[in-house]
């Protein structure tokens, strides 16, 4: 009976736990999930630990310590499918801001005893270390999308997760564009959909927490922000260097803005 169920492991790397919590947040669907899969390893939910291998590993968090470098290899070896969830696991997260500075300075500032801290110079996404079968974006992820990914995995079909712009979600929801109707700098046109245009629906421009959409053009958007909306370059860099600061499209756009439009 339970032997026939797919086994699922949920792993945490460097992260705030918010994405794992999205799974526990699936209150109405949690029983259905538990009926369909064997939760074999999920420390946030239960101290019961079943040994691998696992049919599906859901991985939250970025790689920031030497131990994690080894653990992610072990997770990959034990997992038939590996899905990275959230901005940390898919782009390095907000902690990837360390990639832009010398992390030793941060450690010295933050910790009374920096000698106890063992950390890597960078925060990197899971895909930089092992093969990832699917990346689910967001900071945090959308729980309905997580259920869709699990359902798709169980039925061996492609998840219905679109990689187009948040703008499409605004338009489908009937939200009048915040940039064009009010001159507000909104990251929507370069940001991956999935949130259902949550912020614009509540009158706040997109923060870009789902990271770059497919085929993004942040440079053209930045130029328009500067020339037509009067947004200064610092504000543009702040928008790019957010939860997905190390995602290449946002990182490079911020760098180019920082160096006055010239490539490094």
């Amino acid at each position: 009976m339970s032997a026939a169920k797919a086994t699922v492991a949920v792993w945490k790397f460097s992260s705030c736990d918010g994405c794992q919590l999205s799974l526990l947040d699936c209150e109405d669907e949690l029983l259905a999930v538990a009926e369909q899969v064997e939760i074999a390893y999920f420390m946030e939910a239960s101290s019961r630990q079943l040994p691998g291998p696992y049919d599906l590993s859901i991985v939250e968090g970025s790689i920031t310590t030497p131990e994690q470098l080894e653990l992610i290899q072990s997770v990959r070896q034990q997992s038939r499918f590996l899905v990275a969830i959230g901005a940390c696991a898919t782009a390095g997260g907000i902690q990837a801001l360390r990639n832009l500075v010398d992390v030793k300075d941060y450690i010295a500032t933050v910790y009374a005893h920096p000698e106890y801290i063992s950390t890597l110079a960078t925060s990197t996404p899971i895909s930089e270390h092992v093969t990832v079968d699917f990346e689910l974006r967001g900071c945090p992820i959308n729980k309905q999308q997580l259920l869709e990914v699990i359902s798709a995995f169980l039925r061996q079909r492609r998840p219905q997760i679109s990689d187009h712009a948040v703008c499409i979600e605004c338009k489908l929801s009937g939200v009048a564009c915040l940039t064009t109707s009010r001159g507000l700098p909104c990251m929507g046109p370069v940001t991956h959909a999935g949130c259902g245009a949550l912020c614009p629906r509540y009158d706040r421009p997109c923060f870009g927490c789902y990271g770059p959409k497919e085929n993004p053009n942040p440079d053209a958007m930045s130029q328009w922000w500067q020339a037509s909306l009067g947004v200064d370059s610092v504000k543009i860099i702040e928008n790019m260097r957010n939860f997905n600061a190390a995602a290449p499209a946002f990182h490079n756009a911020a760098e180019r803005m920082n160096t006055g439009g010239k490539d490094d």
């Binding site: 489908l172 940039t179 009010r182 046109p189």
Partner: protein
């Protein structure tokens, strides 16, 4: 039927009559920062005294010097969302005792009455009719919404900077049939509507309104008001001869202009979703956790996305250049071969709602200029 005069103060009676007839009435309303088409229940819901100023990548509402109900131009959204909703379930299936049971969706919605449809928008609806109804695979939901539709059109008496219906020969005066046609006339002394029924259903409604016959002076005032909108466009920057656009684009499929616009375009899809004629949709199948229930949904899609041209293992149009070229050449050229008329009605939404202000009329000029070089 003769043209009649309806006092502006009596406009609400038209809306109430439509509601009593069982219609769900849709009209322009003022959202926080834009005019949107949405359900209304009285004339008080209309954006009286508000007008829009639209420019490249910019839409602003402001208070009008007068109290016109329809002083604004086209809304941010278009009527297409009511005839073909942005998202809709096509069918459900469930596994019961080992058998798959399918359940199709039926249209339970009440008939719609649109109030405030502009000439360009009537053209847009006609264009979508060709796609959804006249093809070999009619869309049943669209057809059912469309066949029961009651259309109250309004002649434009003001154009905003992005309007170019005069270039596309689709306005500003309503020339296509509608159930009732209105022209709003307002000055310091008077505020009334010229009312003309265009169908038996429209005649029945107008007969119940407190109208009086329109004299020559009143009709002349209406013609002048429409003439003012036309003149605004004819003296604006987006007035051009569109008669050779198809050939122009066919000759310039490799124009350097496509590279130039691709540098600026975000491939965000705003233009296509704001467009009242763009009709593409995606179909998405999903299953639930148990695998015993499946659903098929249809949602608006756009040729500016990667998924749109994804076919067994690859995307045909990867680059923004190819996506923009596909959209513009379809809209203005191949559409003519496909349906017999242009896919553009000159409403200007793709210009105003582009978050980086790309202007389809300017792109045409660029292509023309590049060819002349």
């Amino acid at each position: 039927m003769q043209t009649a005069i309806l006092a502006a103060a009596d406009l609400d009676q038209l809306i109430q009559l439509l509601i009593v007839e069982g219609f769900q009435v849709i009209g322009p309303v003022r959202d926080q920062h834009a005019i949107l088409y949405d359900q209304i229940s009285s004339a008080a819901d209309l954006p009286q005294g508000w007008i829009d100023q639209q420019e490249k990548g910019s839409y602003r509402l402001e208070q009008s010097p007068n109290q016109a109900y329809f002083g604004h131009t086209v809304a941010a959204n278009s009527w297409k969302k009511f005839l073909n909703p942005p998202r809709r379930r096509l069918w459900r299936a469930s596994r019961e005792n080992g058998q798959l049971v399918f359940q199709a969706e039926s249209n339970e919605a009440p008939p719609l009455a649109f109030i405030g449809v502009r000439s360009c928008e009537l053209h847009a609806i006609r264009i979508q009719d060709a796609v959804y109804i006249q093809g070999s695979h009619p869309d049943e939901l669209y057809r059912s919404n469309r066949q029961r539709l009651f259309n109250v059109s309004v002649n434009c008496t003001r154009a905003t900077a992005t309007c170019f219906c005069a270039s596309m020969n689709t306005g500003p005066e309503v020339s296509l049939p509608s159930d009732i046609n209105l022209t709003e006339v307002i000055d310091a002394e008077q505020h009334y509507f010229l009312v003309k029924a265009g169908s038996p259903a429209g005649e029945r409604i107008v007969a119940q309104l407190p109208t009086r016959a329109a004299d020559q002076t009143a009709q002349q005032a209406g013609r002048e008001a429409i003439g003012a909108a036309l003149q605004q466009m004819q003296t604006g920057p987006r007035y051009f001869d569109s008669s050779d656009v198809k050939e122009l684009l066919y000759r310039n499929l490799e124009s350097p202009s496509w590279d130039d616009v691709a540098e600026r375009c975000l491939s965000c899809a705003n233009c296509t979703l704001a467009c009242p004629t763009c009709f593409c949709s995606a179909v998405e199948d999903s299953t639930d956790l148990t695998g015993d229930h499946a659903e098929r949904w249809q949602r608006w899609d756009s040729c500016f996305t990667n998924d749109f041209s994804y076919i067994h293992g690859g995307t045909i149009r990867e680059s923004t250049r190819s996506r923009y070229r596909q959209w513009m050449t379809h809209k203005l050229a191949t559409w003519i071969d496909q349906f017999g008329h242009s896919g553009c009605v000159g409403c200007g939404r793709c210009i105003s709602w582009c978050p980086v202000g790309i202007d389809i009329t300017e792109e045409l000029l660029h292509i023309r200029a590049a060819e002349a070089k």
